[in-house]
Amino acid sequence: MNKMRMIASAAVLALLSGSAMAVGPDGTTNVVWNLKADTGVFCVLNTASVDTSTSSGATFDSVGGTGGNINITLAGAGNTVGAWTADIKFGGATAGSNNSACNSANGYSVTAKSLNGGLKAATASADASYAAVVPYTVNLTLGTDVGTQKTSTELAGAGAVALSGTKAVVGQFEMKLVGAADTKKVLLPGAYADTLTLILTAKGI
């Protein structure tokens, strides 16, 4: 009696197939997913590495990503306005090394605002030989982007953009405040103070 060997795979497929998946001749099949992850737009200061070693006439208290206190030795010769430098660097100096960053391909901006337009005396005097407000300059850099120098006077009120970039950047963020000596201005008794606010904004994509 002859034996008939029938390949019945076609009949089986007709009974069992549900999903319209292509099946190879060896019975192989696959499915594919398109994956996506969204990353947010941000600017971040690397507060794990803060360097103030190039400052003079200034000490620092709790300086971090949300702010801190800068204590300035303001008195110079004859109790006139003395020079000082507060230089704060966040993050490493080379890209990819423990850095600060703004990650938008469209760039970012940093707005600086001075509350008093300079270091303001707690007491007042009508005598112009006394310094009622001691101005200072602000220089900001992020990576290879260098901002335009601003004075505390320019930054009073609504403030101004002190640094901007047209692309994403990662690197060291530096804030350098410099007070120049003025031997014609005598300091009033009491404290001189200001609040400088920096707002880093990555541009939307």
């Binding site: 060997r5 998946m21 019975g27 594919v32 996506k36 994403a168 990662v170």
Partner: protein, 185 residues
């Protein structure tokens, strides 16, 4: 599912029987002993089927350096014998879909964990590209599956993006993930 197979086998036998009768060789008719022995052999070739509910997967968390996120993909598989399941990534990681600025990371590697009966997977980390061919893929996420055979089985692929160290570009990081199943021959 077994009824379908039984019906399939029944169809094979019926076809084989019909052919045998039609080609029976001519012989002298024995009127005292009429019998006919029919032997039919049906062969079901190895086959696998896969289905997926969705064709896209988006990690639910907004990512940047230091954050993690997990995504689970569901699928159903039917194979009529043991098989090899391979999961692989097109890029070997999620990859930024634009131009990366200096100092930023352009890839986000992720771990894949395949869950199927009998598969003991501690996770393929990071999930690799296909180092084989399209017909016979190979990756660090290839498993022999002997459980759940000849029944529709649900499985999952769990994906986890680990916290990275490099700053990430704002925007989308994308990849294409493939699950291929090949029955044993």
């Amino acid at each position: 599912m077994s009824n379908r197979i039984n019906r399939a086998i029944g169809i094979c036998l019926a076809i084989a029987g019909a052919v045998l009768v039609s080609v029976a060789p001519a012989r002298a008719l024995d009127r005292t002993n009429l019998s006919s022995a029919v032997t039919a052999t049906g062969f079901i070739s190895p086959k696998c089927w896969l289905s997926q509910d969705v064709m896209t997967g988006t990690f639910p968390d907004v990512l940047n350096a230091g954050t993690t996120s997990t995504l689970t993909l569901d699928f159903k598989v039917f194979c009529n014998k043991s098989y090899v399941a391979t999961v692989y990534s097109k890029n070997g990681a999620l990859k930024y879909d634009g131009t990366v600025a200096t100092g930023f990371g352009d890839t986000l590697p992720y771990k894949a964990t395949l869950t199927l009966p009998g598969v003991s997977s501690s996770g393929c980390s990071p999930l690799s590209k296909n180092s084989g061919t399209d017909a016979k893929p190979k990756s660090n996420c290839t498993f022999k599956v002997t459980g759940g055979i000849a029944s529709m089985t649900s499985g999952t692929i769990g994906l986890t993006v680990a916290a990275g160290t490099a700053a990430l570009m704002a925007g989308n990081y994308t990849d294409t993930l493939t699950l291929q199943v090949t029955p044993d021959v």
